[in-house]
């Protein structure tokens, strides 16, 4: 028994270590001075701590512009996706109409196509619409691939909400929209938060679409912006890259920290019991 628990702990910790070490290394590299980076043997903890890379990123580069772009982009995408997915899954679950199931499946079908296949038609369409090279074009692009998954995720949450709850609200005098707001939305909240978090992370980390659809610094998000700025054929600015990575991770970590309890609650209960 004792041995088993020790072995289990060893196993668990080795996985934690594997996941955590790159993060740790990223953090450490970002505060090491340039001359310490490639020393052999490597230093685990920096001998001299420095924040010069952060300062350079913030003052000498376009980092803040990219950051703002990413923030605007991800937030807008999240809002658009969550609003459409919430209303969409309400329709898919609550109303009966011809082709409902095929519609739900069709939505998922777009998700099954590799993005490389979709990217060119999408690009051409956006150019025709005169939206190329804008943040908005990325919002549209991200919505196309985040929405199907969000819809299916929320659909299962929605299906878990007993229809009687809504009927009760209707009988109690609420309008359909009122019942949706008073009864459905609070029940759906864990699902909405999970979906929002998922969408936000997806748009925050997306690279391929951003690379193809946007090539002006005014609209570039962090992923392509940082890449473009710090990685060239001849040189990789490791310390700056790591500092940028740290700062890119911060918003996600904050979001997770705040919403984690909702997330686990969402996957656990779902508020099904009347």
């Amino acid at each position: 028994m004792k041995l088993r628990s020790i072995l289990f702990n060893l196993f668990a910790w080795s996985i934690v270590l594997m996941v955590a070490f790159p993060l740790f290394w990223m953090l450490v590299t970002s505060v090491k001075p340039q001359f310490e980076l490639f020393r052999r043997p490597p230093t685990f903890l920096p001998e001299t701590w420095t924040f010069e890379h952060y300062a350079r990123l913030l003052y000498d580069t376009n980092f803040l512009v990219y950051f703002r772009n990413s923030l605007v982009l991800s937030t807008t995408t999240t809002i658009v996706v969550v609003v459409i997915a919430t209303l969409g899954c309400y329709s898919l679950v609550r109303f009966r109409y011809r082709g409902r199931e095929s519609l739900a499946f069709l939505v998922l079908f777009t998700y099954l196509l590799p993005s490389v296949v979709l990217i060119l038609p999408l690009y051409l369409m956006l150019v025709q619409l005169g939206l190329s090279n804008t943040i908005f074009s990325l919002v549209i692009a991200y919505t196309t691939f985040a929405l199907p998954y969000a819809l299916w995720l929320l659909r299962s949450f929605m299906a878990g909400i007993p229809e009687d709850l809504e009927n009760a609200a209707l009988v109690d005098g609420a309008t359909r929209l009122g019942a949706f707001r008073d009864v459905i939305l609070p029940q759906l909240l864990p699902g909405i938060i999970s979906t929002a978090l998922f969408t936000f992370i997806l748009s925050w980390n997306e690279y391929l679409y951003a690379l193809v659809l946007v090539n002006s610094d005014n609209a570039r998000p962090l992923t392509t912006g940082v890449m473009n700025m710090l990685i060239s054929s001849f040189n990789i600015e490791w310390s700056l890259l790591m500092a940028a990575s740290v700062m890119m991770s911060v918003p996600l970590i904050i979001a997770f920290a705040f919403l984690q309890s909702y997330l686990t609650r969402g996957f656990g209960a779902g508020g099904v019991k009347g």
């Binding site: 009760a168 609200a169 109690d172 009864v183 009347g274």
Partner: protein, 373 residues
């Protein structure tokens, strides 16, 4: 005047007809049960009355108003759901206050109304709790409270007791009857439990296959079932139904079945010779004396009485009911008789109509059935 009425109401879901040609008039202040097996259309009927489903054709009235196209919230009804449908994110207090809020009752007046309802249902201590922190019985009372807090014209109850344990169910049954008497409101109660329907209702609407089979007071449904379905559905153990044939003989009508011949008086004008069905309640089967030769096949001892199943040689099995001290051995031959005054005759077919006049000794039979329940 009827408080709730269905006039030629039909409801179809695609090609499936859930309710067909329903005519039902429920009086002001009446307690009416819609009773039937699963899928008989009783819940659809209630949901149409609530406005959660819309009739395919026909009219539904509440009071004088046709409510076919009226939203549920504007029908002046309250409903208790089988699942209780309490709002999980709201406290008991908020749950009960929700209908008030939605109907624009001023905020200042709500707490007093909620408190009054809570007191009536012994919920005062629980107002700050969430539904999840309540027992099944308490949740059920909150659901009732949400219906009672305003004074609706009609109460709709959809199998409200089916999720409670047996003891609590008996208790809540009495509570509901008491509540109905005190409020004097029209109540429409859906159940598949005939005991609930028999003990609580002023009238029972028995449904099967989307069709109303009989709408009458409990004693009448029990003593004069309108057709073979009602006869078989009401009563535990169920009525013995024997297929055979009617023939007009010198002394009047006689029913002949496998191993038995029974004179049946009081047949109506629609009786014809040929295939028919004889119904005998277990309490009307006399075991131990009579012209029919049978063998004992099964005895169920319930304490105060025994349910005895006997078999006519080469014929059907009949269920009888005798006092608890009377016992036979399995396989023992025993003679049986039929209490001729209390037989029921139905036309052939699963919903064959009743052919004989209602039984005279209605009161006697009802008392017996109550003793059993």
């Amino acid at each position: 005047m009827a408080d709730v009425s269905f006039q030629r109401v039909r409801k179809a879901f695609g090609s499936f007809t859930a309710v067909s040609d329903l005519n039902l008039e429920i009086d002001q202040g009446e307690f009416v049960s819609l009773l039937g097996p699963s899928g008989c259309g009783k819940t659809t009927t209630l949901r149409m009355l609530a406005g959660l489903e819309f009739p395919t054709s026909g009219d539904i009235r509440i009071g004088a108003r046709v409510v076919n196209d009226v939203a549920p919230g504007d029908r002046d009804i309250a409903m208790v759901f089988q699942s209780y449908a309490l709002y999980p994110h709201m406290t008991v207090e908020q749950n009960i206050a929700y209908p008030l809020k939605k109907r624009g009752v001023p905020k200042a007046e709500r707490p007093a109304m909620v408190a009054k309802t809570a007191e009536l249902l012994h919920l005062s201590e629980l107002l700050k709790r969430k539904p999840k922190q309540l027992s099944g019985g308490q949740q059920q009372r909150v659901a009732l409270g949400r219906a009672l807090v305003r004074d609706p014209k009609v109460f709709l109850l959809d199998e409200p007791l089916s999720n409670l344990d047996a003891k609590l169910r008996t208790y809540m049954r009495a509570e509901l009857v008491e509540l109905h008497r005190r409020l004097g409101r029209t109540m429409v109660y859906v159940t598949h439990d005939q005991l609930e329907a028999m003990t609580m209702s002023d009238r029972i609407a028995v449904m099967e296959g989307g069709i109303l089979q009989q709408f009458a007071p409990p004693t009448e449904v029990y003593n004069a079932p309108a057709n073979r379905f009602v006869a078989g559905f009401i009563g535990t153990p169920g009525m013995n139904l024997i297929d055979g044939a009617l023939a007009q003989e010198a002394g009047g009508w006689v029913f002949r079945g496998p191993g038995l011949a029974q004179a049946v008086p009081d047949l109506g004008p629609e009786a014809t010779s040929g295939a028919a069905c004889l119904g005998i309640r277990p309490e009307d089967l006399v075991i131990g004396d009579g012209p029919i030769e049978t063998q004992v096949r099964l005895i169920e001892q319930t304490g105060h009485e025994n349910i005895v199943v006997v078999e006519i040689a080469g014929g059907p099995r009949l269920t009888g009911r005798v006092p608890g001290h009377r016992l036979w051995r399995l396989g023992e031959p025993v003679r049986c008789g039929i209490n001729a005054a209390n037989v029921h005759v139905f036309a052939a077919g699963p919903t064959g109509v009743r052919l004989n006049a209602p039984i005279q000794g209605a009161v006697y039979s009802m008392q017996q059935s109550e003793a059993v329940q």
